[in-house]
């Protein structure tokens, strides 16, 4: 297991370099220059533009820029944001908690609801509870999260007036002040994820429950709860953990749009604004850190997979 972990962690390095390279070239494909955004509506002379341009290193060739950029970035230096007057990493770290709260809470909710519901549906296969959970998960996956967000706002904020419609306050303002603004975004974010996890849990549980070793476990006289939770679930977990990891990555991507709906000042919003402002450094840093989280979760999932599946652990 140690060796496996080491190997997986080492394989992380090329992945990161590939990620950074993709980010660099895709963001530099974006038309329009950061200078235009920086100077806004005013008329500025050509000399001034050149001055700013060379100040920002934009007058060099793309390859030169890349070769200067990559080593710096690998040491964690994404430069200074054009607009935030602060190091990119600093700005990203300011926003990071918001996105993390959103995605992690959504993930926790997804796991707490999705896996048990999927297990329940699998053991009630073909009965009403199974169909009900199928309808629920199919609808959840079909609804666009941002639309669901608005429906939740209409219901809980406008009609019932129980929760704020959007915005964010840091925990400094009090736990409830903080938490109550995350409830609706987390709900909107989770529903599709729950749908996915319910379906995958159900499917892999059904696969597993049809296996002979489940019959065998029952034949040993084990109570049904142990059969399902010990013998079936651990086998199904290999697949479920993969889906959970994938769902987390999808959630990180989806957070961009949810942060937009609920006006949460997180990484997603930062990335959208940076894209509009052509704040290359900010955009690159933002996307990289968002992707990095996805990669780390992926790694964790791989390790979990190995943990649940001795065959991988020993031979993989």
């Amino acid at each position: 297991m140690v060796e496996y972990t080491l190997r997986r962690v080492l394989s992380f390095i090329p992945t990161i370099i590939i990620t950074l390279t993709s980010i660099f070239f895709i963001t530099r494909m974006i038309p329009g220059s950061p200078i235009a955004a920086l100077i806004g509506h005013q008329a500025v002379g050509a000399e001034q533009i050149e001055a700013i341009s060379s100040d920002l290193g934009l007058d060099k060739s793309l390859i030169d820029q890349y070769l200067e950029w990559l080593p710096a970035v690998l040491t964690g230096d994404f430069g200074t944001s054009l607009f935030y007057e602060d190091s990119v990493v600093q700005v990203v770290m300011d926003r990071f908690p918001v996105t993390l709260y959103l995605t992690v809470f959504s993930m926790i909710l997804t796991i707490l609801v999705g896996i048990p519901l999927g297990i329940y549906a699998s053991i009630r296969r073909g009965r009403i509870a199974d169909y009900a959970s199928n309808v629920f998960s199919s609808l959840g996956m079909a609804m666009p999260s941002f639309w669901l967000g608005f429906l939740l706002i209409i219901l809980f904020a406008v009609t019932l007036d129980w929760l704020p419609a959007s915005g964010y306050r840091s925990p400094d303002f009090g736990i409830w002040e903080w938490l109550k603004r995350l409830i609706l975004p987390v709900l909107a974010q989770s529903l599709a994820q729950i749908g996915l996890v319910v379906r995958m849990t159900r499917a892999s549980m059904i696969d597993v429950l049809d296996q002979e070793y489940i019959t065998m476990a029952r034949a040993k006289g084990l109570p049904e709860s142990r059969v399902v939770l010990k013998h079936a679930l651990k086998n199904a977990m290999t697949q479920i953990s993969t889906v959970v990891g994938l769902t987390f990555a999808l959630g990180l991507g989806g957070s961009v749009i949810i942060e937009n709906v609920f006006a949460l000042p997180g990484l997603g919003q930062l990335i959208t604004i940076a894209a509009v402002r052509r704040d290359y450094a900010m955009l690159e840093g933002g996307i990289f850190y968002l992707t990095l989280v996805a990669l780390i979760v992926n790694l964790a999932v791989d390790l979990a997979y190995a943990y649940f599946n001795p065959r991988i652990r020993h031979t993989g």
């Binding site: 007057e85 406008v158 840091s170």
Partner: protein, 512 residues
Amino acid sequence: MSLILISGCGSPKASDQSSGSDGPVRGGTLNIGLHLPLPTLDWQSSVSHPLPMVFGHVYEGLFGFGRDFTAAPDLVDSYEVSEDGKTWTFVIREGVTFHNGDLLDSEDVKASLDRWHRIGPKGSGLASLDGIETPDSQTVVMNFNAPMGQFLLLLLGSDENKAIVMPKEVADASTRPGQVTEVIGTGPYRFDEYKEDQYVRLKRFDAYSARSDNPNYQAGKKEAHVDEILFWIVPEASTRVAGLESGEYEIITEVPDAEAIRLRDIDDVDPVKNGPGVLLYLMFNHQQGLTSDINIRRAFQAMVDPSEITAMVVSDSSFGKTYSSIYSPESAFNSSKEPSPSQSAEAYLNEAGYNGEPLFIQVIATDIVQQRVAVALVEQAKRVGLNLQIQSYDLSTWVARRRDASVMNMYSSAGYWVDPSLWQPEFNGTFPSEEVGFSNAAADELFANLASATSLEERKVLAGELQAHFFKEVALVNLGYIYRLVAKGNSVHDPHGNLALGNLTLHGVWID
């Protein structure tokens, strides 16, 4: 001059009257739901919308807008202008301190004006400045090589980019646009904290030295009743409204006018119609492409139906207005009107030999007003056989394309004009770039005459001539006026009616 100050329902604030006997209460936190994040803390370098709303309370200029949208003295105690309009001498009020405790003197004013001139979007109006002298600590003398009749208004930067005053050390150290080292002003509130995209906190500046004359919008005696002002960044309009209703915010900016009808029916919330009227107007590429043909521009002039356009932009008809002048209905120059087009749009298109070629209006994807204007224009163009299409861009691409004569046809803009000379930066031939802009000797001459005209009557006549000239040349097309909606909870008292004026100004505002 008639100002529309009171909310659309026509009932003056009952709460204000009833509480009038109690007088202002000191203290409390005022929570504002602000519609946009601050792109920068450097107001001097930006015309961005929310900046005046926040920093108007932190910084002061030599002058500020008065209730009648003329320049009223603020940091200035007295001033005089030479006969030729080229030399302006200001005497600064004594005993004004910055938020860092330093005393304001003429060097600070000079450094601030220099920086504004250098990097301020509206500071470019000082092109004819020869130099600034500071004969003593309270006196600033500015010399121009041309008459500057509009100078005081210019200092107000259309209420978007005012010539504010900051300490000399800060002004000198902050060389790059967008990056001010410290936010230090002389206003009644001091800047406390900005949490990126979350909130801005201002605290009352207890050492503030107010003027002694009557409160007058952004000038006169400014009273700071509340202890702190928290501007919450809430880009989502529905959230701002919900927050207002739940009492989370006391005041919210940029309320969708669709909400006005509903808000009037809610007891503890007051909608406030905010003026002066904002002109929506269409700007063209005057140098290249189809729109360089005056007959095409005239077709647009003849084709537009401002009543329909404003109806599309605002949802509540009381917030739109058709008004055939490029000066705000609330301004002193509201007497002169545009004539009517003499031919139909189809006839102009015929003259132009137009044959269904596509024309493009470029919009900023995130700008709802621009988008709505464009949608309406496209449909109106369709009716006269003009093939107009929308091109939607992010802000910076939009800005870049606007300067590019080979791709730009037209865009819509919005703003209020309370003085004819304020049009000068838009039509001096360099805006948005020399390759695109409107440049015209007759207009230049009119602007020059305005610069040396000091009497209101004289200026009014020139304003009328300028408008007629713009109409004839179709420098721009008037698309109608809209009013903005601000809303407050009725715990908020605004004895001077400042919330109905221009950008959010909270002087004199107090809460129960």
